[in-house]
């Protein structure tokens, strides 16, 4: 079976800044694939290259066998992008934006009208149809951006932060619509820095950081990559130092540890039993334990494990 997208050694420079660094990925047909990383990780550049908006500095990208550099017109016929920042003329009405988008993607007549109405109803946009784009709130602008792809129903749908600025109810509606797109035969790529979104939606996830691929797999596979079954998160009263963390790691036989300022994360088996010993040991070094939390690993932990930074902290 032909893969939906094949990225081979993709590199993209903006001037002297390397936004994407030798990225190689394969996205399977009808898969929901997540691209997870903090802002500035290279997600949007990767998306824009796949969508033929940007040309790669080096490397190749194939979309259902079409080379994005040599056959861009063929690629654009089967791909659709919902951008992170909603794209529309601020003086256009909502219904005009969506109808024009449908026409630009080859829809017409009753099919176009029907799809526009259906999607607008679904995303709560119909009552705002005659409002100018500039009169909408950030969340509604984002819904308009997402609506474009739901109307278009492209073979490959790429969503860049599809639920950013959208409330919980809207977020679940968009997730449902994204799943339905797949059921209708589309392959989906979702760039996000929302771990929950990636876990809930995606069959497989690639974590990228500073333009490089860190790891790729299903959410469960990625979590299994963290040695030790439990994640113990401790917050103390002052910044931690390496010697103390190393000693603690040996004492409780943690498979690995990460720390940043006064926060420590230990990956270990039987975390619950180890917690009293951890607090005691920290006390011996004059650290007062303010908070202890034990949890199943999340994709954020996976990201932290591989990169040493938290996704929500923007990778800084």
């Amino acid at each position: 079976m032909v893969n939906a997208i094949e990225i081979e050694e993709l590199t993209k420079y903006y001037g002297k800044v390397k936004a994407v660094d030798s990225l190689s990925l394969t996205i399977r047909d009808r898969e929901i694939f997540g691209l997870l990383g903090p802002n500035g990780a290279g997600k949007t550049t990767t998306i824009l290259t796949i969508a033929t908006v940007l040309k790669p500095t080096s490397g190749t990208v194939f979309v259902y066998g079409y080379d994005v550099t040599k056959q861009p017109d063929k690629v654009r016929k089967i791909i659709g992008v919902s951008f992170q920042e909603p794209k529309a003329l601020h003086v256009d009405k909502v219904i005009e934006i969506l109808t024009w988008h449908g026409r630009a993607c080859g829809l017409s007549g009753q099919e176009l009208k029907g799809r526009v109405k259906e999607v607008m109803d679904r995303l709560g946009l119909w009552e705002h149809k005659d409002k100018l784009f500039m009169e909408l709130s950030g969340g509604f602008k984002k819904r308009v951006e997402v609506a474009k792809l739901l109307i278009q129903k492209p073979k490959i749908a790429i969503f860049d932060e599809p639920t950013a600025q959208i409330d919980v109810i809207g977020r679940h509606e968009i997730w449902r619509a994204i799943r339905e797109l797949r059921e209708g035969g589309s392959t989906l790529m979702i760039a996000t820095n929302n771990m929950n979104e990636a876990e809930v939606l995606c069959d497989r996830v690639a974590i990228i950081h500073k333009g490089k691929l860190v790891t790729v797999g299903s959410p469960n596979e990625l979590k299994d990559k963290i040695p030790g079954g439990d994640v113990v998160e401790i917050i103390v009263d002052k910044p931690l130092v390496k010697d103390v963390v190393d000693e603690l790691t040996l004492t409780v036989k943690a498979s690995s540890a990460r720390y940043m300022n006064n926060k420590l994360i230990l990956y270990l088996d039987k975390g619950e039993a180890a917690i009293p010993r951890i607090i005691e040991k920290l006390g011996e070094h004059n650290y007062y334990t303010r908070q202890v939390r034990m949890k199943e690993p999340t994709l954020d932990d996976v990201f932290f494990y591989f990169t040493g930074v938290r996704l929500l902290e923007g990778g800084s």
Binding site: L48, K55, D73, R76, K77, V81, L89, W100
Partner: protein
């Protein structure tokens, strides 16, 4: 061609949203025509100078609107709309031609109330000439929009473009035959005025709308305007294609 028409349509749709802008421009035009125009035509000792002046004012407004609509491309780039357009299944060449033609047509439509006003003052001598005048105005708009789009896409900065176009428009309007015929200009002005596309647009429009020409014969002006429209549209399309491919406008 469908993609090109869609881009043109999108550009033309902007017009109805700029009612305030058009009203302001029209008000200024009326003041220029009814106050300055009448006053100055009493000073300048040239037969039918008021009619000469009216077509000149219209030409300069058309010129300024062509700069404005061409310049609009930078705001679309800055709002990130290029990313959106370029991701659509619209061939690049159609997108580029759509932007140039859309800008040119928008300028013509923006200035329609002004054209109607001067026609009501000078009268319509022939329907064929009026149609030819509209076509000439469109050619001129396409040429100027192409020129402005080319400069804007090379400069890639709204602020720098703004300053640059202020200087260009000030110079070109003054060093032209918009307000005075070449015969009464100082010699050092004549060289600039005779190569200035605005002079030729004004002269051709005068020939078609008034039936007289004052500085250059219509064969020369129409040839120059066709050359300007084709030349600048071609240059603009080459520049846009080079700039947008690879996201260099960012």
């Amino acid at each position: 061609m469908r993609g090109m028409f869609l881009i043109i349509e999108k550009d033309l749709r902007k017009i109805r949203r700029y009612k305030f802008f058009i009203t302001m421009r029209y008000t200024w035009f009326i003041i220029q025509v009814l106050v300055f125009g009448l006053a100055i035509s009493k000073i300048v000792a040239l037969k039918d100078f008021y009619r000469y002046y009216l077509v000149g004012v219209y030409s300069s407004i058309l010129f300024l609107m062509s700069i404005y609509t061409g310049y609009d491309i930078i705001s679309e780039a800055e709002y990130g709309l290029f990313d959106y357009y370029l991701s659509l299944p619209i061939p690049r060449k159609e997108f580029i031609m759509g932007k140039i033609i859309g800008s040119g047509m928008s300028s013509l439509i923006y200035t329609t109330p002004m054209l109607i006003t001067i026609l009501s003052l000078i009268g319509v001598n022939s329907l064929v000439n009026l149609i030819l005048a509209l076509f000439s105005a469109l050619l001129f708009s396409l040429g100027i929009s192409g020129l402005i789009i080319s400069i804007t896409m090379m400069v890639k900065s709204g602020d720098i473009s703004d300053i640059l176009f202020g200087a260009i428009s000030t110079l070109l309007v003054r060093l032209s035959t918009v307000y005075y015929p070449i015969a009464i200009m100082p010699d050092y002005y004549k060289i600039f005025a005779s190569i200035n596309p605005l002079s030729h647009a004004a002269e051709l429009l005068r020939f078609l709308l008034i039936g007289e020409y004052y500085s250059f014969p219509p064969e020369i002006t129409i040839t120059l305007l066709i050359g300007l429209a084709i030349g600048m549209s071609s240059i603009a399309s080459i520049i846009i294609e080079k700039v947008i491919e690879g996201g260099v406008w960012r």
